[in-house]
């Protein structure tokens, strides 16, 4: 998916991906976690990567199987170094009004991997629901 840098488009992104997850009976907790992480990754891409420039796009690839969901969110910005971000839970940052998105992604996903340049992030969530169906790989959409 190539989505213009507009937060109003977030809902359609989430619905597209989460409907696939519901098809494979991901738990409500998994769906909450994925929605939160996609929210944060898309918002970061729009606001910090593309600086809300609607001429720039956010590229989203996803693959959902009965066992896991992988979502790649890529912006057109120069990237950043995630390790350079301050810990928002420290006393000196606790009242900051921003800077918690990556913390939440990491807390709610099984795996969060940034590209070397930092303008792309891959979110992975394993399906916590009991499984009795076979794996059906779906190509990245």
């Amino acid at each position: 998916m190539e989505i213009p840098s507009d937060l109003k488009r977030l809902e359609e992104v989430e619905e597209t991906i989460l409907s696939q997850c519901q098809r494979y009976a991901f738990t409500d907790r998994d769906l909450f976690a994925l929605k939160l992480a996609i929210d944060e990754a898309f918002a970061n891409a729009v606001k910090h990567g593309n600086h809300c420039d609607c001429d720039k796009h956010v590229r989203i690839k996803y693959r959902v199987t009965p066992r896991r969901a992988d979502v790649v969110v890529e912006d057109e910005g120069p990237g950043f170094n995630p390790a350079s971000l301050p810990d928002p839970t420290l006393d000196q940052h606790i009242e900051s009004t921003h800077g918690r998105g990556i913390l939440l992604m990491r807390a709610f996903m099984n795996n969060v991997v940034f590209s070397p340049s930092g303008n792309s992030v891959t979110l992975t969530k394993f399906n916590d629901a009991p499984r009795n169906n076979t794996e059906h790989n779906v190509a990245f959409g």
């Binding site: 109003k8 944060e40 921003h98 918690r100």
Partner: protein, 127 residues
């Protein structure tokens, strides 16, 4: 993005202002900026406000919503007021715990308990 103008339900009971959200997606990224403006405007018009924000029916929020709540909390303190949060769904409460904002905000299970927690006006400081 929500089109409904009535995004917040605001009720006054004595000197307590109760804020409730009218839509479960009210705190999503696409809506939070406008909600934040409305909450800040509400506090700006109050002297020593006692504000309860109920999250009943809200099933999601983003880090941008947390930032907005911090802004509202600071506004309330600047007006020598008190802010309480309540009725937070367990999954959303986990977001507060992970970010350690459960230590910054005063969070109660119900509106009744939130209301009972307010300090008397003459003892009121920055809480």
């Amino acid at each position: 993005m929500l089109q409904d103008a009535a995004r917040l339900k605001i009720t006054r009971d004595d000197d307590v202002v109760l804020v409730e959200f009218t839509h479960r997606k009210i705190l999503d990224e696409a809506n939070i900026a406008e909600i934040g403006d409305q909450l800040v405007a509400l506090v700006e018009n109050e002297h020593r406000p006692k504000v309860i924000i109920s999250f009943a029916g809200v099933d999601h929020l983003s880090s941008a919503a947390l930032g907005t709540l911090i802004t509202v909390n600071n506004k309330v303190r600047n007006h020598d007021g008190q802010l309480r949060l309540c009725n937070i769904h367990p999954q959303i409460f986990e977001v507060f715990v992970i970010t350690k904002l459960n230590k910054l905000f005063r969070i109660y299970p119900t509106i009744k308990e939130a209301k009972e927690s307010f300090e008397p006006q003459n003892k009121q400081g920055v809480t």
